[in-house]
């Protein structure tokens, strides 16, 4: 889901820390060093990296913009392989039939079936092309804020990991407790009181 879409989902983050050198160059370096790989690794189940917001399949930050006014905007691309379980079932069943014929036996042990399933899954995973998904990221460096245009747990976890690896800055997910902790409007005393609150019972 993209920043320019007509309907978006948003997870919000606070960025902890700042760059010591040039902001623009630090972001450029972090993105470039961690672009999504153009060459598909047949053994990797998942591949994660950055790509320009305007170009999901040409990860070139020299050609495409990542700086818009005072903001940075780019995309996280996650390429993931998955083989439908019914396809695995089918090939495992065929392999079991073949093996029974070859060995003139009536059944295979549990371990033999597990070995066949592992081999088939590995073979199919290698053959299967990965499915790409892109999620836009908007970084307001001045206000230490990041909007991530997805609320999927798997995608947010990949974002948090890759962001830290790329920029050496930690993302703090904003939810009720962290919104209170990160607030610049609430006083320390109010934050302490909030930390000790118990739920309200509207029921008498």
């Amino acid at each position: 889901m993209g920043l320019l879409s007509s309907s978006v989902s948003i997870s919000r983050y606070r960025v902890e820390g700042t760059f010591e050198s040039s902001i623009l160059e630090s972001v450029r370096t972090g993105l470039t060093k961690n672009i999504i790989s153009q060459i598909e690794d047949e053994y990797a189940e998942i591949s994660v990296g950055w790509t320009p917001m305007e170009s999901a399949f040409e990860p070139d930050f020299e050609k495409f913009a990542f700086s818009f006014g005072t903001y940075f905007a780019f995309s996280l691309r996650i390429d993931k392989k998955s083989v439908p379980s019914k396809i695995i079932q089918k090939y495992v069943a065929l392999e079991v039939i073949k093996k029974l014929k070859e060995t003139h036996r009536d059944f295979l042990s549990r371990n033999e079936k597990t070995d066949i399933k592992d081999l088939i899954t590995e073979k199919l995973m290698r053959q299967m092309p990965s499915t790409p998904n892109t999620y836009d990221v908007m970084w307001d460096y001045e206000n230490a804020s990041v909007l991530f245009f997805s609320t999927q747990k798997a995608a947010t976890e990949e974002l948090e990991t890759l962001f830290k690896k790329s920029f050496q800055l930690k993302l703090i997910r904003l939810f009720p407790f962290t919104m209170i902790e990160c607030s610049s409007t609430l006083k320390d005393e109010e934050k302490d009181l909030a930390a000790n609150l118990a739920s309200t019972k509207l029921l008498r």
Binding site: V8, A65, L147, P176, I180, L193, L202
Partner: protein, 177 residues
């Protein structure tokens, strides 16, 4: 700071209470403009086309009430509130002057889904992208900033004596009507 997973679970009730308080504001047509201190003529918050309430029944089980539809009545919702439920997810329509935003917000995570902003200009060429990105960012920031401000306003009330002495009695009166 507490461990993130621990603090998420321990304080998710504050997000649900916040949404319940928002429903109270909306249903009682309480003017939110003084809370937001926005530079505009009119600002309003209305309930959109869905709301989810949950009533914890103990033993990790809970009762969930989902109301959907553009003109759906809230009777089951207020009945659930009377039985001790809180709002866990709601669709809101936020209006500032002639501009309208629609979105759903989840209490425990404060995640925003299905956010629709006022209409923007079409992107017809590569040169339009920067302007479109900046326009969208500006449009996203308005409801997000409003949520932050309302949440901080709620927390200030929630930790003060006003919560016990004024807000809770008023909310109890509202759900008992």
């Amino acid at each position: 700071m507490l461990d993130i997973a621990v603090s998420y679970n321990k304080y998710k009730f504050l997000g649900d209470e916040f949404l319940t308080w928002i429903l109270y504001l909306v249903e009682n047509e309480i003017n939110i403009k003084p809370m937001l201190a926005m530079e505009c003529n009119t600002v309003s918050l209305k309930l959109g086309n869905s709301i989810v309430l949950e009533n914890s029944l103990g033993d990790e089980s809970s009762e969930k009430i989902t109301i959907k539809g553009d003109d759906a009545g809230l009777e089951e919702g207020t009945t659930a509130l009377r039985k001790g439920a809180v709002v866990t997810d709601m669709n809101l329509i936020f209006t500032v002057d002639e501009n309208e935003w629609r979105f759903s917000i989840k209490g425990e995570s404060m995640n925003i889904t299905g956010l629709k902003t006022p209409a923007t200009g079409k992107v017809e060429s590569q040169d339009d992208i920067e302007g479109a990105v900046l326009e969208k960012i500006e449009l996203y920031s308005i409801p997000l900033q409003a949520i932050d401000t309302l949440f901080e306003y709620f927390i200030k009330k929630r930790v003060s004596d006003q919560w016990k002495n004024i807000e809770i009695p008023a909310m109890r009166q509202w759900i008992s009507l």
